[in-house]
C-alpha cells in the first residue's frame, strides 16, 4: 500500500496495464505532453514508447473508431478525453460500433476498449466543459460505465476496465484528481458492477457516485454525530448497477436518497429511484428521493455556480427530511475553507 492521489493512482493503473500486457495502448489528446492529462499519463510515453503511448489529432470520432478497430485487431486501447464534452463527437462510434459489435455480429468478437472521460466543474469551466452525462452511457446496452471515487478504486476499476472484454466508459471527476488515499501495488483490480459501502447505518440508504460520494460522506459523518446513521453506498459502476447491494440496504432502512453528479431529469438517480420504487415497494417507509444537478447547464461565472451544485449540506438536509428528524447542516457549509468553485487549494485553474 502506498498513499497517492487519484490522478497518480490512474497513472499507476495505466503503467501496470502497459507493463503487464503489450497489447495495451494509451492515447488521446495531450497524453504524452508535459502536463500528461493532469498527471495521469505522465512519463508513460518515455517508459513504454511512442508506439504504445501517443498523442492524436483533434479527431475524436475517428480516433474512437480507430480504437475500436485496434481492439478488434487484438489490442486493448485506452483513449482519454480531457473533458467528457469532447466525446460527444464520438458517440456514433461508441454506440453504433463499440457497444453493438459483439451483439450484432452474433458474439464473434467484442471490443475491449476503455474510454476515459474527465468531468469538469467550477472555476469557469462553463457549459461545455462540465457535463456529467453518465446517464447517456448507462442507457446503452453493450457499454459498461464506471465512476470511481477513491484512488484505490480509480486504479482498480481502471485495470478491470482495461482487461474487460467489453467497452468500458471510465468517468473520472476532475475534482477528485487530487484526492489522496491508500492504493495497493501491482495489478490490483476492483470488479466492475460492485458498489462499495462507505458507511453503515440503519436510518437511511444514501447512494452516490464519484464526487457526490465524497460530499455524501461528509454529510453522513456529520449526521452520525447527531445520531442519524446512514448506509452510504458508493455506486462505483453505473452500468451495470449493483442492485443487490442497494436493495439489501433499502430493505433494512426503508429510506432512499440517491445523489447524482448529472442532470436530474433522465439521470441515474431517477433510474435508481424508479427501480427501487418497484423492487422495494413494500419496504419503503418514505418516498425515495434524489438530489442531482439542476436541469440547466453550468454557467461560467462563479456567482452562478455557488448555488448550483449539490454539496454536503444539501445532502445532510435531504437526509434529515428523509428520516424526518431535525438535523443541523449549516455548519457543513461554514466549515469549508476554500472558494466554492474549486475542490481545494490545489486547484488554481484553468482546467
Amino acid at each position: 500500500m502506498s498513499k497517492m492521489t487519484f490522478a497518480a493512482a490512474i497513472r499507476d493503473g495505466l503503467a501496470v496495464a502497459l507493463d503487464r500486457d503489450p497489447k495495451v495502448l494509451v492515447y488521446g489528446l495531450g497524453v504524452p505532453d508535459p502536463k500528461g492529462v493532469f498527471g495521469t499519463t505522465m512519463g508513460l510515453q518515455q517508459q513504454f514508447g511512442s508506439r504504445r503511448v501517443f498523442d492524436m489529432p483533434t479527431s475524436e470520432n475517428a480516433m474512437t473508431g480507430i480504437g475500436v478497430g485496434a481492439a478488434l485487431g487484438g489490442m486493448r486501447p485506452v483513449l482519454t478525453h480531457q473533458r467528457l464534452d469532447f466525446a460527444l463527437l464520438s458517440l456514433d462510434q461508441i454506440v453504433n460500433n463499440a457497444a453493438k459489435w459483439r451483439f450484432m455480429f452474433g458474439g464473434k468478437r467484442g471490443v475491449p476498449i476503455t474510454i476515459r472521460m474527465i468531468i469538469g466543474r467550477g472555476w469557469g469551466q462553463g457549459p461545455t466543459h462540465s457535463q456529467s452525462l453518465q446517464a447517456w452511457f448507462a442507457h446503452i446496452p453493450g457499454l459498461k460505465v464506471v465512476m470511481p471515487t477513491t484512488p484505490e478504486d480509480a486504479k482498480g476499476l481502471l485495470l478491470s476496465s482495461i482487461f474487460d472484454e467489453d467497452p468500458v466508459i471510465y468517468l473520472e471527476h476532475r475534482w477528485l484528481h487530487n484526492l489522496e488515499g491508500e492504493v495497493p501495488p501491482g495489478d490490483h483490480r476492483i470488479p466492475i458492477g460492485s458498489a462499495r459501502t462507505l458507511r453503515s447505518g440503519g436510518d437511511a440508504t444514501v447512494v452516490a457516485m464519484s464526487l457526490m460520494s465524497i460530499e455524501a460522506l461528509h454529510a453522513a459523518d456529520h449526521l452520525a454525530l447527531q445520531g442519524v446513521h446512514c448506509d452510504l453506498i458508493d455506486l462505483r459502476t453505473v452500468r451495470p448497477i449493483d442492485w443487490p447491494s442497494i436493495e439489501a440496504s433499502v430493505r433494512r432502512t426503508g429510506r432512499l436518497l440517491v445523489v447524482d453528479t448529472g442532470y436530474q431529469t433522465g439521470g441515474i438517480a431517477g433510474e435508481i429511484v424508479a427501480r427501487i420504487a418497484g423492487s422495494c415497494w413494500k419496504d419503503l417507509r418514505a418516498a425515495p428521493q434524489r438530489l442531482a444537478m439542476p436541469d440547466v447547464p453550468e454557467a461560467t461565472s462563479q456567482a452562478l455556480t455557488e448555488a448550483y451544485h449539490v454539496r454536503a449540506e444539501h445532502i445532510a438536509r435531504a437526509i434529515g427530511q428523509l428520516v424526518e428528524k431535525p438535523v443541523e447542516f449549516a455548519s457543513l457549509a461554514a466549515e469549508r475553507r476554500h472558494p466554492h468553485d474549486v475542490p481545494g487549494d490545489w486547484f488554481k485553474g484553468p482546467f
Binding site: 473508431g65 485487431g73 455480429f105 452474433g106
Partner: protein, 322 residues
C-alpha cells in the same frame, strides 16, 4: 494477366451476380426479412480486390457488402442464412444483410452506418502496423463515404501514420437516389479530395475487371512496400434499386438512357467476350462453371431455408462477454 487469374475473376463475378440474382428471385417471398443492397452490375471492383488480397489481409465494409464478403472468401451459406435470419447465419441472425462477418477469411465486419467502419479499418491497420508482416486492410467505401467527416479524420490518421490501408471506393454515382451533383462540388473529383488528404490515388473503370485488378494490385503493392495508404476509385453502376430486388428506373432519379448505357458496359459480359476472344474460356467452361455455381447457390439457399431460426432467448445473448 494470366489465364488462371482471368478465369478466376470472371468466375467470381458470375458467382456473385448469380448469388444476388438468387436473392432477387426469392426476395418477394418475404422470407428474407431485412433490407438488402445488391451489387448487381458492380461486381468488378470486389472480385478484383478479392484476387489481390491474401486471406490474412483484412477487410471491412458498409451496407452494400454481399459482393465484398464473397470476394474476400466469405462463407456463402452463412451469408444467405444470415439474410434469412437463421441461427446458422454468419451473425447467428443478429445482423442480417447489413452486418456480415467472416473472420476466418479476414472479413472483419460490415455495418449499416455510412462511413462507420472506416475508422475501424484504420484501427485494424494500426494494430497490424504494431505487429510484423505486410498484411493490409481494405476498407470498402461508396462514393457517399467521401462526404463523411469520419472518412477525412480516418484517412488523415492513416496518412499521418502511413498505415497499410487500401480505401477501395466504388463510385456508382448515387447515394440512395441522390446524384453526385447535390453532394460533390462541380469539378471536384473524389480522388482529388483523397489526394488532398495525402492518400496515394488512382482511378479507373470498375466495370473493366482487368483494369481494376491492375490498379488495385499496384496500389496494394505500394502499401505492402511501405508506400502508405492508397485510395482507388473505380467507376461503376448499380443496376437495381438502392435497396431491394427491383429495378427503379421508373421513379425518375436517373434516366433510362444512363442505365442502358451502363448496362451495355456490363463487367461480366465485357470480360466474358474478352476471354472468349483470346480463347481463355469457351462455352464448355462457362457451362461447367455456371452449373457448379448454380449448384453451390441452390445448396446455400437450401441450407438457409432448412436451418433453424435462433431460439427466442438468443435475443438477449452476445451483449457482453460471458
Amino acid at each position: 494477366m494470366n489465364a488462371d487469374l482471368s478465369r478466376r475473376l470472371l468466375r467470381d463475378m458470375i458467382r456473385i451476380r448469380a448469388v444476388e440474382e438468387g436473392i432477387v428471385t426469392r426476395y418477394s417471398q418475404q422470407k428474407m426479412r431485412c433490407p438488402v443492397h445488391l451489387s448487381v452490375g458492380q461486381e468488378g471492383p470486389s472480385v478484383a480486390v478479392g484476387a489481390v488480397l491474401r486471406p490474412t489481409d483484412l477487410a471491412v465494409s458498409g451496407h452494400r457488402a454481399h459482393a465484398h464478403y464473397l470476394a474476400k472468401g466469405g462463407d456463402l451459406p452463412a451469408m444467405i442464412a444470415e439474410i434469412y435470419g437463421k441461427a446458422t447465419g454468419c451473425c447467428s441472425g443478429k445482423g442480417g444483410s447489413m452486418h456480415l462477418v467472416d473472420e476466418r477469411v479476414g472479413f472483419m465486419g460490415s455495418t449499416a452506418i455510412v462511413g462507420g467502419t472506416v475508422p475501424v479499418g484504420v484501427g485494424l491497420a494500426l494494430a497490424k502496423s504494431l505487429g510484423a508482416g505486410d498484411d493490409i486492410v481494405c476498407i470498402f467505401i461508396g462514393d457517399a463515404v467521401l462526404e463523411t467527416g469520419v472518412f477525412y479524420e480516418s484517412a488523415s490518421f492513416a496518412v499521418l501514420r502511413q498505415l497499410p490501408v487500401l480505401f477501395l471506393c466504388e463510385n456508382n454515382l448515387y447515394s440512395v437516389y441522390s446524384p453526385l451533383s447535390v453532394r460533390q462540388p462541380e469539378g471536384r473529383s473524389l480522388a482529388g479530395v483523397a489526394a488532398g488528404i495525402g492518400l496515394g490515388t488512382s482511378s479507373g473503370n470498375g466495370n473493366d475487371v482487368a483494369e481494376a485488378y491492375d490498379l488495385i494490385a499496384a496500389a496494394v503493392a505500394k502499401i505492402r512496400s511501405g508506400g502508405g495508404p492508397q485510395f482507388v476509385e473505380l467507376a461503376t453502376y448499380r443496376w437495381r434499386e438502392h435497396c431491394g430486388p427491383l429495378f427503379d428506373n421508373d421513379i425518375g432519379y436517373r434516366t433510362v438512357e444512363e442505365f442502358e448505357d451502363w448496362k451495355a458496359r456490363d463487367p461480366i459480359a465485357a470480360f466474358t467476350a474478352r476471354l472468349f476472344a483470346v480463347k481463355t474460356i469457351d462455352d464448355k467452361w462457362l457451362a461447367a462453371e455456371g452449373a457448379a455455381i448454380d449448384g453451390e447457390i441452390e445448396a446455400a439457399f437450401r441450407f438457409a431455408e432448412q436451418s433453424p431460426f435462433p431460439e427466442p432467448s438468443e435475443r438477449f445473448s452476445d451483449l457482453y462477454a460471458a
